[in-house]
């Protein structure tokens, strides 16, 4: 079981969180009408071996979205930050 150091709640079990996908993607502006931009954002994903940044939602806790650095190979957890405070 992964454990994350939530910046608000402290070290918590994975079972309190839900996975929210790739945090390295930049969402197009809400009024962007370019279909390619949206296509890339919605459908294209890298599948990195090693360090990765991803969203996790502390849905059973403070309900904050977090950006978690996770090593996809070892499951080692690096920096955990509030999504609202991390670089986009």
């Amino acid at each position: 079981m992964l454990r994350f150091s939530c910046p608000v709640c402290g070290l918590r079990d994975e079972t309190e969180f839900t996975y929210g996908g790739d945090a390295t993607l930049v969402r197009p502006a809400h009024d962007d009408t370019n279909a390619d931009h949206w296509h890339d954002y919605v459908f294209l994903r890298d599948n990195p071996r090693g360090a990765h940044r991803e969203y996790w939602h502390h849905v059973q806790g403070c309900r904050q979205w977090l950006v978690v650095e996770r090593d996809t190979l070892t499951h080692a957890i690096g920096l955990v930050a509030l999504a609202r405070e991390s670089r986009p």
Partner: protein, 990 residues
Amino acid sequence: MTRLSTGGRIDRARPITLHFDGIKLAAYQGDTLASALLAHGVRIVNRSFKYHRPRGVFSAGVEEPNALVHLREGARGEPNTRATSIEAFDGLVSHSQSGWPSVRRDIGGLLGLFMRFMPAGFYYKTFIGPGRGTKAWMFFEHFIRKAASTAQPPMLDDPDSYEKVNAFCDTLVIGAGPAGLAAALAAGRSGARVILVDQDNALGGSLLDQPAGGAGDAWLQSVSDELHQLPNLRILTRTTAFGAYDGEVYGLIERVSDHLATPPEGQPRQRYWLVRARNAVLATGAIERPLVFGNNDLPGVMLASALRSYLNRYGVLCGQRVVLCTGNDSVYATACELASVGARVTVLDLRPTLPEALLAQAKAAGVAVRPGTAVVTAHGRRQIRGVSVATFDAVTGRTRGAASVLSCDVLGTSAGFTPTLHLWSQRGGRPVYDPQRLAFLPNTTAVPLMFCAGAALGEDGLHAAIANGFAQGAAACIAQNIGTLAPPALPSDGWRREALMPSAILAQTGDAAMPAFVDLQHDVKRSDIDLAHREGYVSVEHAKRYTTGGMATDQGKTSNVHILSRLAELRGTTLGDVGTTTFRPPYTPIAFGAIVGRELGPHFRPTRRSPMQDWHQAHGARFIDAGAWSRAWYYPQSGEDIRAAYLREAAHVRADVGIVDVSTLGKIAVQGPDAAEFLDRLYCNAFASLKVGRLRYGVMLRDDGFVFDDGTTARLGETEFLTSTTTANAGPVLARMEHLLQTAWRSMRVQVTSVSDQWGVIAVAGPKSRALLQTVCTVDLSAQALPNMAFVETQIGDVPVRVHRMSYSGELAYELYIPAGFAQEVWQILIDAGAKPYGTEAMGALRIEKGHVAGGELDGRTTLKDLALERLASRRKPFVGAVLRLRPKLEDLARPSLVGLEVLDRQTPLKSGALLFSGGKPISGHGDGYVTSTTWSPTLGGPIGLALLAYGQGRIGETIRCVDLLSGTNVACRVVAPCFVDPEGVRQNG
């Protein structure tokens, strides 16, 4: 085999009686089932899995491949338990679980005569290959499974309870042998929070196999005393650490009551510990490997260390004429101790020259030693009677030359020890073969927070293990000033010194009559590994699965290295190049009951209850699960079935007035200066233009343009909205809002809060709903004062209520938003005023008649166009999904779109999921669409449905067939518009 009159760690003052296959076994408290069997001379305990060969006790621990028995009877029956780790208690009943008519005279043993015709892959090659595409395998499988010596689980409910515990510590020490005890002491002295676990019922590990009352016991006592005095240290015995997981989380099973006939009052049978640690010390020791030779599965062939364990721990002498065969020093202490109690002992040592001291030690004890020799085959039918001995050739790793026969009644072998690295491997560690240390060893940096110690790390000998354990325990806690720990005054004989580590497979090739088993539990012979190699199974993972070597309940604890070394030999490479297979939890089998714990029946997950649940229950409602909710389904009157009840309820709504509990809808408060702009972005239709006091239906899409959810939003104020969601999507919609506000749209000043549980909601529907409500509240509800899609605040009784005028049924209708704690009071007032309750089944019938979409249509695969909701989409503002919903494929008219269906014969019910086919077309493939929702329409007096049909809107009036291939029904229907009742909306707007 006999019980010695003295010695051992059993309590001779407490004799007990056990039963095995109806035989009474006299035993003592402190015995295991295996030691009691051996003391009683029971040789054959089981029949082997594939060839039904007789098998006896092989080891003295959890690695046991042979002695699997069915424990207890009836509901407490437990198959596949290892007799070697079952603690004896008075009255224990056990049975062999294979062999007919008995384990001693098993007719299936005839299979052994055909062994040479049943190599690896036999069943698949014979029964599947030739009959491919037929049902032949399904026919044969039944008999093949029956023939396999497998156990039967009890089919009764488990009468015992199990429980779960969460625990936290700084350092978890796994294994309480010499290294683990030293590690726990070092960590404990530092003040760290330590948990020490061992699968055995006592601390000590290998020290318990030393002669009782010796220097080892004194050392154990003093260490144990100190550990018990440490307030920061918890000791768990009878507890197996079976799984190591990410985040330094460990799964343990504590066998609280397995050593008792029944659990004491209030105690569970087993306890599942989930331990979250900062780090762990793995002091799990090492498991002895046997040698492999002809007939090496005969009862009486055992691990050499097991002979010592039975002697010193249980006072059982496994044989009077003992042969030990080895390539290392570890068996000499065993040999001398066996000789000291009167056994005639011969050691066959593979090594041609032996240290003088060793020979002198053996000679002094009266042990005969034959250097440079080895076992070729074992002899005997139901148990070992003797061995063939020949010269061992260290170059070929095989015996050669003529063999002489040596009679014996037990044979112990030792090829060396394999560090127990299962937990380390579970965390992704890949052990590396060390040719100097003759073992697969952990690369200590691979799993940074797991410190391997003692024999698990390949340390050789007692003193080294203790020193290393102490150091690792200190390292785990970064401990300082913790003093020292002196080892016991015992010889520290290593097993590695000048040891030989051949493939451990002594059997010569071409000796099919004398099978040599590399894996005892699954009857995998040396020749099966050879066959797998010849057939091209290069990867060790593939060879394992093909031969099934290393599988089953013991997971190859005594066989894995043999398979690897044979593969290495065949490929002309080294063990290191072959690599190992991957270990996965559990280390030893665990009971499902312990994993389930108390999460059974209604406790499997929480049940969500409406604030009006008590009323529904008191008034005979039948309930249906909707996600976590338990919802009132229908309210049967005397003698009514569900169909009669919901038709009555729905008809009453159309004619009079009914009330339904819709508190399960998701409710989200959206507040802040940018709330209107936020909803405008989120929903496909406009919300900024919504006036205060008004309601609006909205649909939101996913980013990919498909419909996500729908619901009604009330504008409570300039900066405050109350949004409702479908019951199922209450959580996901809120999470989505939070995601957007905390990531891409973080500059928006909006707060979203779930208020689902704060409001009870009652829908009041029917032509007489206004009249009824007007009798219980004072506010003006006339169409002028409160038009459709507006709300007003009032009081019902003493309760403040917000009345939303909106309709799901198509009738004149309202939804009352009531503070949850008072919802039942208002419900009762409405009932007293003459409203009749209706359940979710009637609600569904009404909404299908009205053509509203719900779960069947909002399945994540439909677009606005598919659902005939395109008119909602704003062309003037951007919104989530606005761009990708216009992908050409999603605009294709051939996509199934929403239509209504009327059954032509007005009788045959429709099935949800039925496929749609045009009149003349053959019934094959996926058809033109499918039925999404069905009901019996009380208004039309016949079955109707909603469906998604290709080119749907252009096919109104067509006759189509609804084909359900599962039930074999084929129903003719007319395609109609999806709204069956009042399409102009006169009723709801009146």
